[in-house]
Amino acid sequence: MKAQGSVGTGGAPHAAPPATLPPGVDLHQVRPYGDTMNDGVVQVSFSLPVPLTDEARETARRLAGKMGLHDILIYHEADLGYGFSFFIIYGKCRHAVDYARVVVPKVAAARMGFEEINAFIRDRVGRPLRVIGACTGDDAHTVGIDAILNMKGYAGEYGLERYPMFQTVNLGSQVPNEVLLARAVEFQADAILVSQVVTQKDVHLTNLAELVDMVEAEGLREHVLMICGGPRITHEVALELGFDAGFGPGTTPTVVASFIAQEYLRRHPPQGP
């Protein structure tokens, strides 16, 4: 299978073929697909805080009904004991989405390679960009931020530390926002990179919002690029929080580097000679 290039990724062993559309799909009415166009098949599972009884089963069925499913089949049920029951349900979903009208904000930066990015910064900016990163709050998950910043890098790409045209500081784990801000100021950072992995009780949102407020309070917001990332971070969420960009699972260094370089330039257009 290795030969089929699936190492480290899984999914399909073959690259995706040109994205075609299946025959007969109505892009204004996109529905789930099981084995027939528009059959609407959906799989659902959940527990209920009631013991497994006929009534519990019926409750599960009605809940699925309220979710917009019909032809509901309870595939599996289990009594978890102590007043809990578990259900696996299949049904056909009434709902459809107008795919043709969906619009999604995207990171607006062409992806470049290692050499390209260094050349880009050397020629257009003329000096290395200063990047500071940290895993803030109580979060000790540094693997993500290290993947982006450290020499070693990620998924076969070097981290920013390896780029001649980036000057980097990685503060590591459990960094209070105060500390990050202070170090960013003394380092005169062009970009602040924050990682948040622990998300219980949305603690990551609180941490990130707080940092933005502090940076604004310092009147630094327009002088520095603010970028966040983590398994639960999306670009959209980042924008809502007041960041300039957000990166989720599987992000590689070049993606981030490309964004920093291009976005920095967009904000600091070179003055004419």
Partner: protein, 519 residues
């Protein structure tokens, strides 16, 4: 093949000897008989295609006509060839005239006989030529593209709509599937004719038709090109139309056919004389077309207890092998089937299944053993089911199986959804990658649970086979020795379609096939 089970060759030899005598009986029995389906297959291979306005296949019409005029006993080929001579039309054209009653079938008079025989031979020649063409095309594609590592990952599609099936087959192939089987609609095996044209409605599967074979083959050929890997198509040479299915499969370049000596008898209540006679002919066809057959022993354990009846699976495999060899199928094309069907909550179930899987592997070293996933003990708990299938994949790679039917977590509930297959293939590939050489690394404790189980199953199979040889296959089946199911020699469907060959019976297609495979 490394021998890890320390099996006694003498016992294996006993099994083969007993199976040989059973097979000789079956072949002998079949030689003296033909069936309406064999005659229809003959006509199809002489060039008849299509159906009449009522959708009845012309091959059926012609055989009915011959039967009504008591001509079948000596074979439909000659009277039909005579009609072609007379009308000057091609085979299909002539069949239309016969169907509409405008031409009456009859044996040629002495003066026409030579011409008729000549015509019959050329028609057979031409028709059977398509089998060779398909065979050559497959050889070239395989030589050019290859088909990836073993075991071959085999999945089913069964949406009921051949066009949906092609979509799902392509998605599956891209996800790693190497063989795509189109499951047939629930009742098709009981139909005494093959529906015509492409179909978009089916129950629990999609109708097997010549047109559907073509549609799927074309889709898979596209995909094979895209992926740079040849993807096989599989269907069923099974049920009342077994010989015709084999013929169409060979012509339309299917690569595998489910084809079992006993499945139809045991699980579809098809008459045993009918199935065994059809069996012999259909395997000749598969041999000529170089198709791989998959036998159906895996099904036994859905009705019988896998712990107590494991030896019946092995016994049947010996019989299927012996019959196949006598039909000219080389070991490399005999995909003997078995399955992992033990209760997953039984202590050491995995240990015993590994013993069984390895046992089959070592006894039939050259056969591309077809290993079937847990089905009987699958439940609506798709998460648990996914793990049962993972154990199955591990047993498969650990014991060197040839064809791995990828288990679906949803097996207990529905024929696979598009992502069921995707997730199942991902899991199977992951397990097989992670344990790729585990089999090479481990050996089994002498006299341990694995070896002891394997030995026990083998010796019980030997006893059973010798008993069957003594008892006779028919009465063994009647006594319910296979799959706990009992059938009588004159019961079940399709007996009326069997007849003894009369003196002078002639079948140029059969002759051609035998010449091809000279068994």
């Amino acid at each position: 093949m490394e021998r890890k089970l320390d099996l006694d060759p003498a016992v294996i030899e006993r099994c083969r000897r007993a199976a040989a005598s059973v097979a000789d009986f079956v072949i002998g029995f079949a030689r003296e008989r033909s069936t309406v389906s064999i005659e229809r297959a003959t006509l199809r291979l002489m060039g008849i295609e299509g159906a009449d306005d009522e959708g009845v296949p012309l091959a059926n019409r012609v055989v009915e006509a011959a039967a009504s005029r008591r001509l079948l006993g000596r074979g439909v080929a000659l009277p039909f060839a005579a009609a072609v001579e007379a009308t000057g039309e091609d085979a299909t054209g002539t069949a239309r005239l016969v169907a509409s009653g405008r031409v009456r079938l009859a044996f040629p008079g002495p003066r026409e006989e030579d011409a008729a025989r000549g015509r019959a031979a050329t028609l057979a020649e031409a028709g059977c030529g398509r089998i060779l063409a398909a065979r050559q095309a497959r050889d070239e594609a395989l030589a050019q593209l290859g088909e990836g590592p073993r075991p071959l990952l085999y999945v089913i599609v069964a949406s009921g709509n051949i066009f949906e099936d092609t979509l799902q087959a392509r998605v599956a192939a891209r996800a790693g599937a190497q063989v795509v089987a189109v499951i047939r609609s629930t009742a098709q095996s009981l139909l005494d004719y093959i529906p015509e044209g492409t179909t978009t409605e089916g129950f629990g599967g999609t109708y097997a038709t010549q047109a559907n074979f073509r549609v799927m083959r074309a889709a898979l050929d596209d995909t094979s090109e895209e992926l740079g890997r040849y993807v096989r198509q599989c269907n069923y040479a099974s049920g009342l139309c077994m010989p015709e299915m084999a013929a169409l499969g060979a012509v339309e370049r299917l690569d595998m056919m489910l084809n079992d000596a006993l499945y139809g008898i045991l699980f579809r209540d098809i008459n045993m004389q009918r199935t065994l006679t059809d069996q012999a002919f259909s395997r000749l066809v598969s041999a000529a077309g170089d198709l791989t057959i998959n036998t159906g022993e895996d099904n036994y354990l859905t009705t019988a207890d896998p712990l107590a009846a494991a030896h019946t699976v092995l016994a049947s495999q010996f019989i299927n092998e012996a019959i196949a060899l006598r039909c000219g199928l080389p070991p490399a094309r005999i995909g003997l089937g078995h399955a992992m069907q033990m209760n997953p909550w039984m202590e050491d179930m995995f240990v015993l299944e590994v013993a069984q899987a390895r046992l089959v592997r070592e006894i039939f070293p050259d056969a591309p053993i077809k290993y079937m996933p847990p089905t009987k003990h699958m439940t609506g708990n798709i998460f648990r089911g996914h793990v049962q299938d993972a154990l199955f994949a591990l047993a498969s790679v650990m014991t060197d199986q040839g064809i791995h039917l990828v288990g679906m977590m949803t097996e207990a509930m529905h024929t696979p959804h598009i992502h069921d297959r995707f997730l199942a293939l991902e899991a199977a590939r992951m397990v097989m990658t992670a344990a790729r050489h585990l089999g090479e690394e481990v050996s089994f404790r002498a006299e341990g649970r694995v070896q002891a189980r394997a030995r026990e199953v083998l010796s019980r199979a030997a006893e059973m086979l010798e008993a069957v040889a003594r008892e006779g296959l028919f009465s063994a089946i009647e006594k319910g020795w296979f799959a706990d199911v009992s059938r009588s020699p004159t019961g079940g469907r399709g007996l009326a379609g069997v007849f003894r060959k009369e003196p002078g019976y002639w079948n140029p297609v059969e002759d051609w096939l035998r010449a091809q495979v000279n068994p």
